[in-house]
Symmetry: C2
Subunit: 109 residues, 2 copies
């Protein structure tokens, strides 16, 4: 099964949604969760994930705290803020709007 890039702009959406669903996760969990739920179609590279998380911290969409994993490793746990939940709603509706429009174009006769 071939690799697929994450369409630019949708990574925030994927992360926000994953955190909304699971409450609190560290980086690896997020990447893993996205890959799993998408049936291995979407692969989030670490070099994309961590910069995105940093930007999301700055924007105030998530907060982070250091903790320890089940496997006894140090990890940074991310959690949505109220702003993050609001942003998720915005991105969802934008996504649907734009994808709907594109679909209309590529399905037009």
């Amino acid at each position: 099964m071939q690799r697929d890039e994450i369409p630019p702009g949708t990574l925030y959406l994927l992360i926000l949604k994953s955190l909304a669903r699971s409450g609190e996760m560290h980086g690896y969990e997020i990447a893993d969760s996205i890959q799993r739920v998408s049936n291995d179609v979407l692969q989030v590279e670490e070099g994309s994930l961590y910069p995105a998380l940093q930007r999301m911290l700055i924007k105030g969409w998530v907060i982070a705290k250091w903790g320890t994993t089940a496997g006894n490793r140090r990890a940074r746990y991310y959690q949505l803020t109220a702003a993050g939940r609001k942003q998720l709603a915005v991105e969802m509706s934008q996504f649907e709007r734009v994808i709907g429009a594109i679909t209309r174009v590529i399905e037009a006769v």
Copy 2:
């Protein structure tokens, strides 16, 4: 109605599909057609369109010839090549695949 950006990567798809539908068009027509069919959601700026068309010429997905519009203006008419039609099929299935995957993620419970 607010402006929306074209998600990077999908512009080729939109242009290819528009040309496949209409046979032969010049730049303005392409932009116009995309905007119209998408119900004004998608607006293709000239600074995005012409560079994209240049890249598509280089890739051999389209050919261009100079002509004259109904309004008696000089214009460059673009037309799909066989490679362009093949590329359209590739981009369509990739789009569906990736968008389907994203949809699975953002609709997961």
